[in-house]
Structure formats: C-alpha cells, structure tokens
Symmetry: C2
Subunit: 233 residues, 2 copies
Amino acid sequence: MKHKKHIIASPEHLRFAVLATDIAIFTVRDKKLLVRLIPVDRPPYFTDIKGLPGGLIDPKETAEEAALRHTKDKARIDPKKVHFEQLYTFSSLPRDPRGRVVAVAYIGLVPWEKLSASEQADSEEAFWFPTISKETLAYDHNEILDMAIKRLRSKIAYTTMAKKILPDEFTLTEMEETYESILLSDLDKRNFRKKILKLKIVTPLKRKKEGGAHRPAELYRFTSEKIKEIEVL
Amino acid sequence: MKHKKHIIASPEHLRFAVLATDIAIFTVRDKKLLVRLIPVDRPPYFTDIKGLPGGLIDPKETAEEAALRHTKDKARIDPKKVHFEQLYTFSSLPRDPRGRVVAVAYIGLVPWEKLSASEQADSEEAFWFPTISKETLAYDHNEILDMAIKRLRSKIAYTTMAKKILPDEFTLTEMEETYESILLSDLDKRNFRKKILKLKIVTPLKRKKEGGAHRPAELYRFTSEKIKEIEVL
DNA sequence: CCAAAAGTGTTATGACTACACCCATGA
DNA sequence: TCATGGGTGTAGTCATAACACTTTTGG
C-alpha cells in the first residue's frame, strides 16, 4: 500500500490547522458493546494497530457531514442507519504525529439488527471490536474512545438515547440487556420494567416475539421519535 | 476603525477551514447571571451589534489556549481567574458571512468577587450583559449563548461546578442565590441547606460574615478542589 | 425596639431497593 | 414433562417537597 501524503499539515499549510473527524460507532451484539475500528497503516503506524474511523473535513462540508462520509468510506456502514452526536473537539498539538490536526469527535449509535450482512461482518477494512477488551489504539484514539464510552454510559441513564441502539421493536428483556451491556452492571428485572413502564417511554405493540423454547415476549417500541431528557435509571 | 481583512477564508485558503473560538463567560452579580459581550464592528456588522468574545486559533496553540488568549485580549479578563469548559464545535457553512469558520465554543465561569475593578467595569471594549435580556447577537452567537446557558443550568444540577462561579468563601444564602440566578427559579431555603450539608460538598469555616443590620452568616468553602459529579439538586 | 436576613424540624408522599415464584412455550 | 426465558408484587427504607417561626445583629 502506498502513502502519498505523510505530512498533512506541512509548514506552508500552517496558517491554519487541519480539521478532521473521528467517529466511535457503537452497537450491541450478544450482550456486548462493540465499537467499529479500522486498521491504521499510515505513518508512524505500519504495524498491526487499530484506530477509530475518521478523516479530514472538507472546506465545503460541516463536521457532521464529514463524519457521515467517513462512516460510509472508512467504517463501511451506511450513515443513514447511524445516529450521530458530537462528543468533543481534540486540539492538543502532539495528538497526531503527522502534523497539526484538530479532530471533532463523534459518537455513532446503530442497532445491530439494522446492519446488513456486510456491515455486520468483520473485514480487512473495518471490524467490530468489544469495548471491554483493552487495546492500544493509534493516535489519541484511546482517549477519544474512553470519553465516548463514558458519555454513552452517563447519557443513557438520563435520556432515551437507548432508542438509537435498539431495533424498532424489542422486548423489555432486550432493552434491559442493552442497558446492562453499556453500563456493565446487572439490573433488577422487576425494578427495571416498573421504571420503564412508569415513564411511558415505550408503548406495547399487540404482538409477541416468538421463537424460543419458552414463553413469547411482548414487543415494545419507543413512544417518541425524539430523544428526551428524563431520568431513566 | 479600519477593517483590513474582511474575508478571512478566501478561496486560496479553502483547502482547510479557518478555526476559531468563541467564549461565553458568565458571572453572577446582584442575583443576575451576566455574560461578557463585546461590540462587533467587523463586516457585515458596522452598527450597534454585540457578540461573544473570540477569535482565531493559532496553529501553535490548542483551542483552549486560544480561548484563554481571547479572554484576555477581547473580553479584557484575566483568564487565570476563569474556569473554562468546552461547549460544542459549530461548523455550519454559513455561520460566518466572511467565510468558512469553524468555532470551538467554550463556557467560562468567574466569580464576580475575583474580578478587578476594570474587569467588573463596562467599557467600550467589553461589558457585562444580563442573560435574561433578549438581544440579537452577531453571527450564530445567540445559538451558542443559548446552548451555553442550557448546559450551565443542567450541569450545575448534577455537579459541583457552582464552585467556579462562587467566591472562595461564601454563605449558604449566597450559594442558594447563585443557583436561583442560574436556574431562574426559587429554591426552598431549608431543603436547599439540608441537601447541600448532607452532600458534604461544603465545609463550614469557623468564621461569620458580618456587615448587615442582621444576624451574621456562617461562611463555607467547597470541600474539594475538583468538580464532582454528584446530584446536587 | 424595629428591620433584616440567618437559621432550624416535621410530616406526608413518592421513589428505590431487595427479593422469589408462577407462566407460556417448544422440544 | 422438562428446560428456558417471560412476567409479576410487596415491604422496608430513603429522598423529596411543602411549610412558619425564632434568633441574632445593627441602627
């Protein structure tokens, strides 16, 4: 593989810093919180090192538009399926050894069930990685990912943001497991259900989810399209 | 006044967007939440229009360093007295009519009592403006200011951030009035005191604040230097 | 002795926690 | 009929909200 442009903020560009975006795209599969990573093969990293998908922000696009574009090109996921939220802007001078790069970082949330087969799959270009695994990432991506997970944990507890990582229809057990995967703690089944139902943030459909050797579960969907700021947990 | 450079992101610069910072510096005086504004006399604004202090981020400084610098130069306040927190990065294309400017916005908090006479004063260069007044600001500064106030209101309720806008020593009444000024709502004196004392986020000094034709009030200071994430209200 | 702000306690209501068994289904 | 996950109620404890009078000081 060739690397045409190792130094992206060379002295004659240094009137202005280079603007980029990095995206931490999360999904939940099999009771595990996963993040989408890509291999980093740019200098000074040529070895087997992983990083968050991202790239430059063009002068004619907003930071969020750039995040959508790189989600498609780098993370190989259709950005229309993903809910984006701005996380933080990282501007420390040595954060990218190639030059001065300021990164507007985003959190992305996508339900596993909405992903196509190729988006669910791991490939050479992009793959899902469990957030519980400790792994040294390129650049300052560990810092970005840590902040993203922290934000996700805190916001899921006082907003209805979980909507964006759950499928349109889900059982209360699936919802509880999503919370548990993100918070890394066990919740009491009865108390969780009472709380969620009292808040009226979900509406029961009149259908059941069949398919196991056990009692079918009632299906629910979120009452409102919007993310509301209500104390969920 | 002369305006040498009306277009700061001319086409040949457009390889990269221009990076800037805007700062919403708050203080509380006389039970009112104030924000530091400056007159905007750059194109296309030559009339009596106000805006947030801010300016470009140099290639050799972080966004926060730029915020400190412009706090000193534009807002005319010693940045060492101010607590900064990153708010949001605004990158919409038409947000600045002079060209493509991406702004990393900051919240600044400063206790009125820490300000010098000239910092407290209103001048031609910078002045304190009550946040309850509705005023049309330059650029997208109304949007930035609204988000800053919203963030301040929400964060003061679940962190000990109020430390950064209160003097080192204060009475519980002063503390309660600070909360009321920011939240724009009356709090119950007895419940407020019980809550704050139970949380042990403040420590009583063994001194009283004298000076009125009334009973002297016990002085307190915050127990910890750090801003903690505890449900305050 | 008056004005002004400081300081203090109780009760009712609602929320949270902990905890264990029966139900509906498919194999 | 067994295994599997779905679904439910109660009691104790704790937090919150509403509410009014006495204390200390300076003038």
